[in-house]
Symmetry: C2
Subunit: 214 residues, 2 copies
């Protein structure tokens, strides 16, 4: 009947394979979602593979069919964080043209992420910062290079004559470190409560602005 170049059997087989691949992706997604959920509720120390399995309704060993091990699963939980973190920063970058306004907005977006996603932040930048040095696995190639974004803002500021610093990379690192340090101090120590975070950030950004302006 049909004059297509593929036989009916071939097409059915293909559809079947597609469906199975889709189900496999669905379960992988469900595991990752359950893991993220559990992680955010329980925190790094109490996060357990077996509890993830129970939450998703499979035996513990099934997880190993979708992630190589607990660490890999945790890495993907972190990657979800890097993705939304990158999106936040990209929005802040795009929202301003002026160099200093842009840098301030980036700093504020950074801090805001840390405050609203403390458990994720700790995982991503404090407890398991090594994740940053791992290559992005399939599906996460497009995650925004946040560090590169900040570097670009600074380089452009330098080209426009808004900034004057000896070394772009060093200043990028210094600014990043300053903001990260504030969030880390807030999350890990009693020195910097949430209420003080915003004003301290502003004063620090202002000091660094004054110290780096042309």
């Amino acid at each position: 009947m049909s004059e297509s170049s593929t036989t009916r059997q071939q097409r059915v087989r293909q559809a079947s394979a597609d469906r199975r691949a889709r189900q496999k992706l669905d379960l992988r997604r469900a595991i990752l979602d359950a893991a993220t959920d559990l992680f955010e509720r329980e925190g790094y120390e109490k996060f357990s593979l077996r509890q993830v399995a129970e939450a998703v309704g499979y035996s513990p060993t099934t997880i190993y069919l979708y992630f190589t091990d607990k660490d890999d699963l945790l890495h993907h939980v972190a990657l979800e964080g890097f993705r939304s973190f990158g999106e936040d920063l990209a929005r802040a970058f795009a929202a301003h043209e002026d160099t200093h306004a842009r840098l301030l907005a980036l700093g504020q977006a950074y801090v805001r992420f840390g405050v609203t996603h403390p458990v994720h932040y700790r995982l991503m930048f404090m407890v398991r910062g090594e994740f940053l040095s791992r290559p992005n696995p399939p599906g996460y190639e497009s995650v925004v290079d946040s560090f590169g974004l900040l570097e670009r803002a600074i380089r452009e500021g330098l080209e426009r004559g808004d900034l004057d610093v000896p070394d772009v990379s060093a200043h990028t690192l210094g600014l990043w470190a300053a903001v990260h340090g504030l969030v880390a101090l807030h999350l890990a120590t009693p020195y910097l409560p949430a209420s003080a975070l915003e004003p301290v950030l502003e004063q620090t950004m202002e000091v660094m602005r004054r110290g780096s302006r042309a």
Copy 2:
């Protein structure tokens, strides 16, 4: 014979109690040393109570007679770190009179500690920063308040007219965060290798100096 107000029996009893107390302290010290050693060799994740017990030659449950639990033991490992960290900073503080030289020295001492004691640093300020908010247990009352030290350096600088910032506490936090951020980035990410740490610190300190000078 002896006309002392205490009987011989009383003195013997006292000496015996003293000896037992001393032995108890010795074992506590031995456990803590073994724990510190193991922790520095194996790192936070692999640190195990049972291995500490084995290293010191006692059964696992014996540890509970000297520390309330694993967390308490880990806290004391961190406290050893806070002590030597505080000593390093106090030395740097005392070595300089000039405000900016003193602040730079403090920053350098801070970074040096992080580089030479990475495992301890991670425990103290990154993975288990909550330890900072716990009250100092017996034996650690004299640990230098490093944060207070930095604050004093800044306040004195302000009083001498070397600095001009709106808020002393905020600037203390900002400076601390900047240096901590650099160490944390070095220890947890690939962005800041050891070789780049010193120059980046210098440029950042210089930017903050320019931005906060009177």
